[in-house]
Symmetry: C2
Subunit: 518 residues, 2 copies
């Protein structure tokens, strides 16, 4: 593939400089390698985004820690300015869903490499919002979709509550239907049910896609539903009466994002603001569900957030690569000690200990980029299949469990590997790694929440385990990831093929023997 | 011991609040436990320091990330104000060396718990400087000792150079003796030999204890020596001509400390400014060494920095304990999910997974506090022995290798454990752990350099290994840590007593068997 491509769109590396010596030793063309790891179109999109940002003074990078409010102001201005840059041309919407998502993911990765605050702000306010809108809304909500893209509204997704994070079933915000006025009354019973951590909500959001328990006038609960809830006047950014909204305060990183809280005091919104793809309240005030199993409905709706987890994986792979590259480059330049007592110092990359510390993370960056891309393709092909199939939504529901398990094991693995890579890189760069200029501190602080948001890593791991244990009894694997379990009876007859090494202290004496084979 | 002590000086915990329920379940008196982990006098000193800081508005804590220069200004004012607080009364200097060090360590730990920037600033500018002065200087340098304590001078220790960190033997700053004027000419040959990372040097230091290679007029090098080098006018803080000094810029944490660089341009200092405990230049301009083996001399001199490493261990144990306590307390308050599908949420501390994540760090905090205290006592008793012995300095030199190996293995172990504890605590506290208010972000950013400074952890580990391998041939263990190696011949005849467990997937079937015994 790479041979037929014009690689000139990839900027050259500097010819000189202290890294030139090592670069000359490569026995392959690095641009070919780059085109193996990323598709040509993806790379072109990224370089296009970076060029646009480079040329715009609003995206000049600050060399110093800004006061938190200033970080938020700049990120909001940058997000608002995005529509002017035409980063996502209209043609993109005419492409297939897979091509469109590839394009949007490339834009997200490029923005994330520039500023995680900005990309997360857009991902939360545009990507996640719009994905949820598509999954849960109907025709009558389409106007919000384009409005969010064009920044006519600033949106956010309000699910988590102060005391209800991982356990979304305990969410206590209520939405009581009032048949007299055909309105929903959104209400927060107490502070523990305040929506919290909502990205973009702290200072600027005008619309919150809010999850609340839907109650019909007969007092019956119909479970969690999504509502389009106006928060602030778009002209003045003053909150509407009945909405108590504010910023949750300074964080470890990502301080460009204004995470907020909100409490509703019997706040009324119109009937049409219910996202009614899976259920609605009819003219007579009676709840009508489109599906027989509300649990599965919720699962499918929440699955729209898998896109967010895949985005996190892509970002984390980039972060991992960045940390590894910083450490490898530094170690090729930094000299310390040498083989002879009074001889020249040599680059620390030549030391086995140093290689052992940082090379595995370089390898992980390569392997995990490939595996994340493969997971992305499985995910997109599942969505495409569901759209073509007349029983589309049903099929998607069947695939949800397996994709969720796959993503729930991959997201922890990738985000933790990136976390460890940043830390090892920081230490491997010694004191210079502790300078803000190394970028490793900001990488660490901005990457950190990836281990928590969109599903706490430990909780996700248990969900993946739960699915795996169920597969033991009954394989249900439309993606095919655990097909090998169909051979479990044969496998169970096998014992571990063990090689035991026996050694003494002053010399190694290996003795290998085999245990029972199947 | 604990029973005979009046425990009333330890403030009570709040009676109510969400933790009361778990606290009531304790079957021991927590104040007794506290007095097992720390000596009464140490605790009293800490509470005294904290009370002094609480009552002084200069030590009011900021709730927001300050601009870096503001952090530095505040830390400098606080350090300067220390002398007024009389935190170290004169009586302390009449105590035994061990008692004095215990007192100073308690003060350091207490200040570190309040602000690592402040304690590190004092430790570098007063503790390390004065320890180096005692180890390397003579009578004629004693005036600097008290002056540093009383903040009449602001001091720093300039060893590391831009390109020479771990490898101190490569330091290239020179000190040429000029017999005509009886001065040393301090000179920095090029930027890579600029002193760098020097704490307190960036904005305020007036004196730098500087390491340079001493040359006699015959052109002969006599290795690294310490010099008292005036940097800035104490009244104006303007640098003296010939001294190019500045701040190295923003760091990941510890931004209250003004780390700096300095380059000397044939800068002249008087003859008496050489720290001449181990060697000096006489009236005729000839170098006279007090010891026959300059390598050992340097080792003994550098051993004075072991105090710094022990200080880091004490601080890290406190950091570890703080992180573990934050995570344990939060997990007792935070409720999520429960045993029944629609039942009440239970505190996350009740989950095995959560206990498995954070309890080991609580245990480590206890174990490592005891082991650090024990190491401190070994270290102090070695110093006391050397002072009482007429061959004191010789004896100290003999102990240096073993103490260095002990400290070189313990410092990495403790600082890495604290690092991992902070990260696990951050993740275990979920989103709330990502708030600045959780303190976990500041703990992580401020603790981070402990893995690097006063000896990079990986380099220290190799030094400890190096010592251990030498012990295999010839046990030289005055502290007694590897006495067991005297039994190596017997030990070598033993093989590992292995218990092998063989299990199948659906049920566990253990089969233990023994291999050869000695």
């Amino acid at each position: 593939m790479a041979q037929t491509v014009n690689k000139s769109f990839i900027p050259d590396l500097p010819k000189g400089g202290p890294l030139a010596e090592y670069r000359k030793r490569a026995n392959f063309d690095w641009k070919d390698l780059k085109l193996i790891f990323e598709e040509e179109q993806t790379l072109k999109t990224k370089y296009r985004v970076w060029k646009l940002l480079e040329e715009d003074p609003l995206f000049t990078r600050s060399n110093t820690n800004l006061p938190t409010n200033e970080s938020k102001r700049i990120a909001a201005m940058q997000m608002n300015h995005m529509a002017n840059l035409n980063i996502v041309p209209d043609e993109v919407y005419n492409e297939s869903i897979t091509q469109r998502h590839k394009y949007l993911c490339a834009v997200n990765e490029a923005l994330h490499a520039y500023s995680p605050s900005l990309s997360v702000k857009i991902a939360l306010g545009v990507g996640l919002f719009n994905n949820a809108l598509i999954a849960m809304g109907t025709e009558r909500h389409q106007k919000y979709y384009k409005a969010a893209w064009n920044r006519e509204i600033v949106t956010c997704l309000a699910i988590t509550e102060v005391s209800h994070g991982s356990n979304t079933k305990r969410i206590r915000t209520t939405a009581n239907y009032d048949p007299k006025t055909k309105e929903y009354i959104i209400h927060t019973p107490d502070f523990e049910a305040a929506k919290a951590w909502v990205g973009n909500l702290g200072k600027t959001a005008t619309i919150a896609l809010t999850f609340a328990n839907l109650y019909t006038p007969d007092g019956e609960s119909h479970g969690l539903h999504g509502f389009i809830v106006p928060i602030r006047d778009p002209k003045t950014l003053i909150a509407y009466p009945g909405v108590l909204v504010g910023d949750i305060g300074e964080k470890i990183g990502l301080n460009g994002i204004d995470n907020g809280f909100v409490m509703f005091n019997n706040y009324r919104i119109p009937h049409e603001n219910l996202l009614n793809r899976t259920g609605d309240i009819n003219e007579e005030g009676v709840y009508e569900s489109v599906f027989s199993e509300p649990g599965k409905v919720l699962g499918a709706a929440l699955e729209s957030f898998s896109a967010g987890r895949i985005g996190i994986m892509q970002e984390s792979v980039n972060t991992l690569a960045k940390a590894a590259v910083i450490a490898v480059r530094y170690s090729a330049v930094r000299k310390q000690f040498g083989p002879e007592r009074d001889g020249e110092d040599i680059p620390i990359i030549e030391y086995q200990l140093h290689q052992w510390r940082i090379f595995p993370y370089l390898a992980a960056a390569c392997v995990l980029r490939v595996s994340t891309f493969s997971l992305f393709e499985s995910y997109m092909s599942a969505i495409e299949r569901s759209q073509k199939d007349s029983n589309g939504f049903e099929l998607l529901t069947q695939l949800v469990s397996e994709l969720h398990a796959l993503i729930s094991s991959s997201k922890p693995h990738i985000t933790w590997t990136a976390r460890d890579a940043i830390q090892e890189a920081r230490e491997a760069c010694g004191g210079h790694g502790y300078l803000k200029a190394s970028r490793l501190g900001d990488l660490r602080n901005d990457h950190d929440p990836s281990c928590t948001y969109e599903g706490d890593n430990n909780v996700l791991g248990q969900q993946a385990s739960n699915w795996l244990v169920r597969q033991w009894e009954n394989v249900e694997s439309p993606v095919g990831t655990v097909d090998f379990l169909n051979r479990k009876d044969q496998m169970m007859k096998r014992t571990f093929n063990c090689v035991s090494k026996r050694w003494s202290f002053d010399h190694f004496e290996c003795e290998s023997f085999c245990l029972l084979y199947f």
